[in-house]
C-alpha cells in the first residue's frame, strides 16, 4: 500500500448551512454548503453537531459532536449519510435546509491506493456504505473498475445501495437481493478473482467477518473502523483500537482506515 493521504482541516469548528435533506430508504442524506473548506479524501471524516439545540434530547444528550465519513464532496458542498439511532443522529437527521451544521474536518487519513495490480473491491454494510461512494467515484474516474458489495438489514434500508454504482446487495432477511451476509458475496467475488484489495466499512461484526475471510485467503483489506470519539483530532485518546502487535492506535489520527493485518480482530464496540 502506498502512503495514506491526508487533507488537513482548517483549524477550529466552522458553521455550514444545510442545503438539502433527502431520504434514501431508511437513511437521511444531509448536504451542506462548504465553500471555504478543502476537498476531503475518501474515508476522511468530519465531526458534526447541530449549531442550535445540540443537547436536551433523550437522556439530556447529545453533548459531543458525532464523527461521519463524508459520502460525497464537491468544491462547495459536503454530503453525509445518516441514520437516526441515538440522540446525536436523531438531532442531525432533523436538520433542514437553512439550518446551521457545525463541522470540524476533514480529519483522519484517506484510503490508500490499490497496489500490486490488485483490483479494488468495495464491501459495505448499512451506513458504512458512505465512504465507499466517494471512493468508488474516485476509482471509476481513474478508469479502475470498483465493484461494490453492500449488505443491509432489510428492504427498507436496501435503497442505500443506490448511492453507489452497480452494487450487488445482500439483506439479512432476504427481502432484497441475496438472502444472507455481504461476506457471502465477497467470498464469491474472491473465488472468481482473488487478486484484489478489499476496502470495507460497516458494523463491527461485518468488518470482523471481512477481516477473517481476507486473512484466510491472504487478500489485503483496508477496514474503515468506528469507535466512540470525543474530538476527532487526537486530543481525547478515546477512539483507540488494540493492535495485533500490542498497544493501541487512535482511529482519529492514525485511521479511521487500518490495514486488516494490523488487527487480531475487529473490536465489538
Amino acid at each position: 500500500m502506498s502512503a495514506q493521504p491526508r487533507t488537513q482541516a482548517p483549524f477550529g469548528r466552522r458553521t455550514l448551512t444545510v442545503a438539502e435533506r433527502r431520504a434514501v430508504g431508511a437513511y437521511v442524506v444531509l448536504a451542506a454548503e462548504d465553500p471555504d473548506g478543502p476537498l476531503p479524501r475518501a474515508v476522511q471524516f468530519y465531526m458534526l453537531s447541530a449549531a442550535r439545540r445540540w443537547g436536551g434530547g433523550a437522556d439530556e444528550r447529545p453533548f459531543l459532536p458525532r464523527a461521519f465519513s463524508v459520502l460525497r464532496a464537491s468544491d462547495d458542498r459536503l454530503e453525509f449519510m445518516l441514520e437516526a439511532v441515538g440522540p446525536g443522529t436523531e438531532r442531525l437527521c432533523e436538520l433542514e435546509p437553512g439550518d446551521g451544521l457545525d463541522v470540524t474536518g476533514p480529519l483522519g487519513l484517506g484510503f490508500p491506493d490499490p497496489t500490486d495490480d490488485r483490483r479494488a473491491l468495495l464491501c459495505g454494510g448499512g451506513v458504512g456504505t458512505a465512504p465507499l461512494a466517494i471512493w468508488q467515484d474516485e476509482l471509476l474516474a481513474r478508469g479502475e473498475p470498483a465493484p461494490a458489495l453492500l449488505g443491509f438489514r432489510d428492504a427498507e434500508h436496501a435503497p442505500g445501495a443506490a448511492l453507489l454504482h452497480n452494487a450487488r446487495v445482500a439483506t439479512d432477511d432476504g427481502s432484497h437481493g441475496h438472502h444472507g451476509l455481504v461476506t457471502d458475496l465477497l467470498a464469491d467475488e474472491l473465488d472468481s478473482g482473488p487478486a484484489a484489495v478489499v476496502y470495507a466499512c460497516g458494523p463491527p461484526p461485518m468488518l470482523e467477518a471481512v477481516r477473517a475471510l481476507c486473512a484466510e485467503r491472504a487478500v489485503p483489506c483496508q477496514l474503515a473502523l468506528e469507535a466512540g470519539m470525543a474530538c476527532g483530532f487526537g486530543a481525547c485518546f478515546g477512539c483507540v483500537v488494540a493492535l495485533r502487535a500490542g498497544g493501541y492506535l487512535r482511529l482519529c489520527v492514525d485511521g479511521p482506515v487500518l490495514d486488516g493485518a494490523l488487527l487480531a480482530e475487529v473490536p465489538a464496540h
Partner: protein, 296 residues
Amino acid sequence: MTAVDFCGLRLAHPIVNGSGTFDAIAARRAFGDALLEHFPFAAFVSKTITLAPRDGNPPPRLYETPAGLINSIGLPNKGLRGYLEHDLPELAFLPVPLITNVMGSTAAELCTLVEALDERDEVDALELNVSCPNVSTGLDIGADPAELAAVLGEVRPRTTKPLVVKLTPNTADVAAVAQAAQEAGADAVSLINTLRAYAPHPRRVGAAWLGNATGGLSGPAIRAVALAQVRAVSARVAIPVVGMGGVQSGLHAAHMLDAGATLVGVGTESFRDPAAGTRISRELDDLFAKSGDNLG
C-alpha cells in the same frame, strides 16, 4: 488581550488547556501549521508523563453523559524517555510556554521525573498529577494533606522551575490539601481534575460500559462543583490558582476568575471545538472591555 503573570511566566491571556485534553502534536498533524498560527492557549500543558511508557486502559474509554463526558483513558504516554526524545523537540515549536505534567506512584518516581525535566530548557514549568495512589503507602497522594506534604517535601527541592500541583476533587477537604501544597512549597495549584464516575452499559443492566469500569467526569456537568472548589481553595491559599471544570465561554471563564483563579483551564470544550480556547479568551476580553472590573 489581558496579559497575565503566572509564577514568573508572562502569558498573553489567562486561558490554558487542562492536562490531557489537547495533544498539540496530533493536532498539528490534523490542522497543520494553522495550529501554531492560531494556537488557542496562552501556555500549553502536556498530558501526564510517567516514568515508564503506558498503553492506557482497554476500550471503551468514553461515555457521554448529560452535559458531560466520562473518560477512562489511563494516561497513555511514551514514558519519560520517549517524551524527552520524541515529544519535547516537537513541543518546543509551540508559540507559548510549556508546562509538563508528570505523575509518579512513589515520591522517588516523581523525583526522577522532576529532576530530568528540570534540566530541559524547553520546559517552563512542571505540574504534578497527584490523583493517584502512592504504591508505597497505599494512600492517594492528592487526597490527604499529610501524604501530599510528605511527597512534595521530597520533590520540591529537585527543581527550580515553577511547580504546580494539580489537585483531585475526590477528597473530603480540597482546601486543606491545597494549603498543604502551599506550605510544602508549591508555586501554584490547579483544579479541578475529573470527578470519579461510573458509566453503566447502555443496553445491559448490571454491566459496566468502560473497559476500566470507573472513570472521571468532565464538562459542563461539573462546572458548579468546580466553582465551589476553586472558591474554597482560593480563599485558603495565597499562591495562584488555575481554575477549570466545564468552562465553555468567556462568561464561564469570568466566573472562574471571580472565584479566585489566576488562569482558567479549558478541557472538554476543546473536544467540541479545537479552537474553543481562542473563542473563550476573546469573549473574556469582550466582557472586560464592556464591564471593566465589574464582570456582572
